[in-house]
C-alpha cells in the first residue's frame, strides 16, 4: 500500500468508519430511539460516500456563473424575437438553433473529464450524485419521522422502548403462542 493510495482513498475509509459506527449502534443497542439514531448516522455516511465520488480536484459547485448563464438566456431571448408567441415552431430546429448559439459560448468554459484540466478555466464537480442524495435525504427524514411515530406508539402501549423488555412482555402475555 503506497502513500499515494492512502491519500487517494482516505475519504472512503473515513466514511466506512462512520458507517460502521452507525451499524454498530443499530445491532448492539437495544433502545429503539438509539437504533434510529444509528440508522441516521448510517444514512448520513452513505450520503457522504456518494458526494465524495462526485468531487473533481480543483472543481467548483455545479452552479453556472450568472454571466455565462445570462448569455444563454440572451440567446434564448433572441429566439423570442424571431418566433414571438408562436409556439408552433418545429421543436427540433428550435433546440438545434439554441444549442449552436449556446455551445460556442460555453465550449471554452464547460468542459468535463480529461479535457477539463487543459482547456477549461472552470471545472464543475458532478451534479448527479448531489441530485441522487438530495432525494435520499428527504426520503430519509420521511422514514425517520415514520419510525419515530411508531416508537411513540410502542412506548405508549408497552411503557418501554427497549427491545428485550418488549419481547419479555410479549412472552409473558402470550405463553401459548411461544409454546406452539
Amino acid at each position: 500500500m503506497t502513500l499515494e493510495q492512502v491519500f487517494g482513498l482516505y475519504n472512503y475509509w473515513v466514511v466506512i468508519c462512520l458507517m460502521m459506527t452507525g451499524f454498530y449502534i443499530v445491532i448492539a443497542r437495544k433502545n429503539m430511539i438509539k437504533t434510529v439514531i444509528g440508522l441516521n448516522i448510517f444514512q448520513t455516511s452513505v450520503v457522504l460516500l456518494y458526494i465524495t465520488m462526485g468531487k473533481v480536484t480543483g472543481g467548483t459547485a455545479p452552479i453556472i456563473p450568472p454571466e455565462i448563464a445570462a448569455q444563454h438566456a440572451e440567446s434564448h431571448g433572441h429566439e423570442d424575437g424571431h418566433t414571438g408567441h408562436d409556439a408552433h415552431v418545429d421543436h427540433a430546429e428550435h433546440a438545434d438553433h439554441v444549442s449552436e448559439a449556446g455551445y460556442e459560448a460555453t465550449d471554452a468554459v464547460v468542459h468535463h473529464g480529461v479535457e477539463a484540466a487543459e482547456a477549461a478555466e472552470l471545472i464543475y464537480s458532478n451534479p448527479l450524485p448531489s441530485v441522487l442524495m438530495l432525494t435520499a435525504i428527504v426520503v430519509g427524514i420521511a422514514t425517520t419521522a415514520l419510525a419515530l411515530a411508531l416508537i411513540v406508539r410502542i412506548g405508549e402501549d408497552y411503557g418501554t422502548v427497549e427491545e428485550d423488555e418488549i419481547q419479555l412482555i410479549n412472552r409473558r402475555e402470550q405463553p401459548n403462542k411461544r409454546a406452539s
Binding site: 459506527t21 444549442s99 427524514i141
Partner: protein
C-alpha cells in the same frame, strides 16, 4: 485539505461518542452536530445543495423530531446486558470487507473516474442549451431530467405524512379536537 481532515476527525469523534453515550438527550444533540459537520464537509466537496438540505433536515427537523419522541418515550437508555463482542466482530469484518473493496476505487477527486466520464456530454454541458441558462444545474437535474424521480419522492413524503397522521392522531372524537374543540369552546 487540512480543513477537511479536521472536519473528518470531528465527525469520527462525534460518531464514536454517540455510540458510547447512554444519555439519549445528549446522543440526540450529538446527532445534530454530526449532521451539521457532515453538511460542512459536503460544502467543501462542492455540493452546496446537499449541504443545505442536510443542515436544514438533519440538524434541524430530525433533531427536533427525536427530542419530541424523547419527551414522549423516556430519556434514558438502559445498559445493555450482553457483551459487545459479537457486534464488534460483525462490524469489524464488514468494515474490513468494505475497505478491501475500496482499494480498486478511483482516487479522491480523480477527473478520469467512471463517475465523471460515463455520461457524455455531461449534464453540466447539456443543461445550458436545454434549460436556456438556468444557472443551478442541480435544480435543473432534479426538476427536469429526473422529474419523475422527484415526483416519486414527493409522493413518499406525502405518504409518510399520512402515515404519521394515522399512527399518532387520536381517535376521531378527540381528534384534533385537542386543538380545535377548546378553541370553539372559548369563542
Amino acid at each position: 485539505m487540512f480543513v477537511s481532515l479536521f472536519i473528518l476527525t470531528l465527525l469520527v469523534v462525534t460518531a464514536i461518542s454517540i455510540a458510547r453515550i447512554r444519555d439519549l438527550w445528549a446522543a440526540v444533540m450529538f446527532t445534530g452536530i454530526f449532521s451539521f459537520l457532515g453538511a460542512c464537509w459536503m460544502l467543501i466537496l462542492d455540493a452546496p445543495d446537499v449541504a443545505f438540505t442536510e443542515a436544514a433536515v438533519g440538524a434541524g427537523i430530525s433533531t427536533f423530531l427525536m427530542l419530541g419522541t424523547l419527551a414522549l418515550a423516556g430519556k434514558k437508555e438502559k445498559p445493555t446486558k450482553g457483551s459487545p463482542l459479537v457486534p464488534l466482530i460483525v462490524v469489524g469484518v464488514t468494515g474490513a470487507a468494505l475497505i478491501y473493496g475500496t482499494l480498486d476505487m478511483p482516487h479522491f477527486g480523480d477527473p478520469n473516474s467512471p463517475v465523471q466520464t460515463r455520461i457524455q456530454p455531461s449534464f453540466v454541458e447539456k443543461s445550458q442549451p436545454d434549460m436556456h441558462g438556468l444557472p443551478n444545474v442541480v435544480t435543473a437535474l432534479l426538476g427536469s431530467y429526473r422529474g419523475y424521480d422527484t415526483l416519486g419522492e414527493t409522493a413518499v413524503i406525502f405518504t409518510a405524512g399520512i402515515a404519521v397522521i394515522l399512527i399518532l392522531r387520536r381517535s376521531s372524537t378527540e381528534a384534533f379536537g385537542s386543538g380545535s374543540t377548546p378553541k370553539k369552546g372559548s369563542k
